[in-house]
């Protein structure tokens, strides 16, 4: 899987570096001073690199835990995210990472303690309150877990810090490390889900929706809190039938009482990232629209977005209570909240 491993000189002797490089005895190891020398040069093509991404082992400097973007939250007041890894082993055509980074290599920061210290500092800032930390913003939280072992160490840390609430967002079925431990009440394993046929076209190298659902069901059965992430919701002429079917399948498999939260988010991508991905994949039907440019983002038209979100929200209410449903973009949140006010339903908690 990994043919090349770039190792920063600063972490060459680190135990985790030795463990990770040891998993790929046939890989060529190349040392470098800073990972940016490999990751940032202009002359790189994300699409080509996705054919054979390298692993980069690096040391994280500076801030590790950052405020979550507006609209990113599942009910908590204090929301932060962290990325112990940059890039994802999957290749989803709608993913913003392919427009954000020049390189498709996987960067793993091996000094995990720095992330735990960063989270501890935020807990200290919000004394006595729960603080949410989101993992899986710049990578898949679990997909490379057999190599990195990050989540295993994170869970140990979380046992000692019950005020830290963590969402591990994933599409992976690599859940062994979760099965090996007692479920933690302050962890939500959140699965991103797309209608199966759409996933087959757009989510390359990703476990099928069926396999994800099987992993979700087993996690729920073992007592883990699970999250359902319908983000991005993608427009197709027959999106209603596709999402209706998806929701049926999901709620048929996952018991209601283990569902911590459900999020809905329309497709949106910052304009420069969208420009980059359409250059990489000019023949991709997804990028042919119908989109418009709004607030520096490329997204569906207000009407289209409103219709889709309203439809999906209505459908979700058939299976779960409104207080578990959150939306991921400010405009959609307003749209759905307004609609709920109008319909005299319980408001969506997403502040």
């Amino acid at each position: 899987m990994i043919d090349t491993i770039y190792v920063e000189n600063a972490v060459a002797g680190h135990d985790r570096t030795k463990t990770m490089t040891g998993r790929f005895p046939d890989a060529t190891c190349v040392t470098c001073d800073r990972y940016q020398e490999v990751f940032n040069p202009k002359a790189q093509n994300f699409r080509l690199q996705k054919k054979k991404p390298a692993l980069i082992l690096a040391k994280k400097f500076g801030a590790t835990v950052l405020p979550a973007p507006e609209g990113y939250g599942i009910g908590g007041e204090h929301n932060y995210y962290f990325s112990h890894m940059l890039n994802c082993i999957y290749d989803c055509r709608y993913c913003f990472l392919q427009g954000m980074y020049r390189s498709a290599h996987y960067v793993v920061f091996v000094n995990y303690e720095r992330f735990f210290d960063g989270m501890a500092a935020k807990l200290k800032n919000h004394r006595g309150e729960n603080v949410w930390f989101f993992s899986g913003y710049d990578c898949d939280s679990l997909a490379l877990e057999p190599v990195t072992g990050f989540v295993r160490e994170l869970l140990d840390w979380l046992r000692q810090h019950p005020r830290a609430q963590v969402e591990l967002r994933t599409k992976s079925t690599q859940v062994r490390s979760l099965f090996e431990t007692v479920p933690l009440p302050n962890v939500v394993i959140a699965y991103s889900l797309t209608p199966d046929q759409t996933a087959a076209t757009l989510e390359h190298k990703v476990p099928s929706v069926e396999k994800r659902l099987a992993a979700l069901a087993e996690l729920a059965e073992r007592g883990w809190n699970v999250g359902l992430r319908f983000d991005p919701v993608l427009y197709e002429s027959r999106y209603q039938a596709l999402y209706q079917r998806l929701f049926e399948d999901v709620f048929d498999r996952v018991p209601q009482n283990s569902i911590h939260s459900v999020t809905l988010g329309p497709f949106r991508m910052p304009k420069p990232y969208f420009r980059n991905v359409t250059r990489l994949y000019p023949d991709e039907a997804l990028f042919a629209g119908p989109f418009e440019s709004r607030d520096k983002m490329i997204s569906y038209s207000m009407d289209c977005e409103q219709q889709m979100m309203s439809f999906c929200h209505d459908q979700l209410l058939r299976y779960t209570s409104a207080d578990k449903i959150y939306t991921c973009s400010p405009s959609s949140r307003d749209l759905v909240t307004n609609r709920l006010d109008r319909d005299n339903l319980v408001g969506i908690h997403n502040d």
Binding site: M1, D3, T4, Y6, T28, V30, T31, C32, D33, E37, V38, P41, A43, Q44, N45, R47, L48, Q49, K51, K52, A54, I89, Y90, S103, H105, A143, L144, P146, V147, S172, T173, Q174, P195, D196, Q197, T198, A200, T201, L202, H204, K205, V206, P207, S208, K211, L234, Y235, E236, S237, R238, L242, P282, D283, E284, A285, L286, F287, A288, G289, P290
Partner: protein
């Protein structure tokens, strides 16, 4: 298009023979040999000559972005046996201390090693690296013409500590000739990769059919290209070009194309099973 850059005529000879390359006339500043989509330039020894030869070849050939570029030549190595072939995993320029890391996406089982580019032949071999005299300037300039994945440096080991550095032309040619299958594999894969980037563009004849019939401003040309691209991504067949009697001007044509695009149902899905091979989780 694939471009090969070698320093010596003796290095070029077996490659010219293997690929049936013919010298391009009239000869320019550097000898260039071509055969269809493959070109080779003989740069002469050293960083400056190599950089100049890359630029020369770029201007001499199609001047298109994202062509494949391969530097082939002999190098010394502290440990790797004479006659071995390797690809550069990191290129360090001794004079400046700068490093480059050619991204590797080829499917070839070849040894990969750091390469240090020096200005004088290296006789001490202080590190476990290959030593050459062109790779750094080759990569620095060629990666301005193309993406790094398509720019690689392949070295055949000619000397180790204690070796005699007075090679005859025949000895050099023989070293290259003995590794021709590896060279052909790398050239073949780089060519395939560059074709991946030869992205699906709007068929030029179709775009030109519109441009011939109506006057498009520069902005309208961009809109036309974008619309045709989107239509092509959405449907198997592009609509037939309407007659000039139907649409008086470019703006009418653009509106017509927008209508066509809107009328096509959005279908992102494919029937189950078509992409099945792609759907296995990557082992880690």
């Amino acid at each position: 298009m694939t471009n090969l850059v070698v320093a010596l005529q003796a290095e070029a000879r077996p490659i010219i023979e293997a690929f049936d390359l013919v010298q391009d006339r009239p000869a320019g500043m550097f000898p260039v040999y071509c055969n269809g989509d493959l070109s080779l330039v003989v740069s002469g020894i050293g960083r400056a000559c190599c950089a100049a030869a890359v630029i020369h070849l770029f201007h001499r050939t199609a001047q298109r972005a994202d062509q494949a570029w391969l530097n082939i030549g002999i190098a010394g190595h502290q440990q790797v046996p004479i006659g071995s072939v390797l690809l550069a995993s990191r290129i360090t320029e001794r004079a400046s201390g700068r490093c480059w890391y050619p991204p590797y996406v080829l499917d070839i089982e070849l040894l990969r090693s750091p390469v240090v580019t020096v200005d004088e032949p290296e006789r001490c071999y202080p590190q476990c690296c290959a030593y050459d005299m062109e790779a750094s300037s080759f990569y620095q300039i060629a990666s301005r013409c193309s993406t790094g994945e398509l720019v690689q440096s392949l070295k055949i080991i000619s000397d180790n500590p204690g070796s005699n550095l007075d090679f005859t032309a025949n000895q050099i040619s023989q070293l290259l000739a003995d590794q021709m299958s590896a060279i052909e594999s790398v050239v073949g894969q780089l060519s395939d990769l560059s074709r991946v980037l030869d992205t699906v563009r709007v068929p030029p004849d179709l775009s030109s059919l519109y441009l011939e019939q109506w006057h498009f401003t520069v902005a309208q040309r961009h809109q036309l290209a974008a619309l045709l691209n989107r239509l092509k991504a959405r449907s198997i067949q592009l609509p037939a070009v309407p007659g000039t009697s139907e649409y008086q001007d470019a703006s009418g044509v653009l509106t017509w194309l927008e209508g066509k695009l809107l009328a096509i149902p959005v279908n992102l899905s494919v029937p189950q099973g078509e992409d099945a091979a792609d759907r296995v989780e990557q082992p880690s």
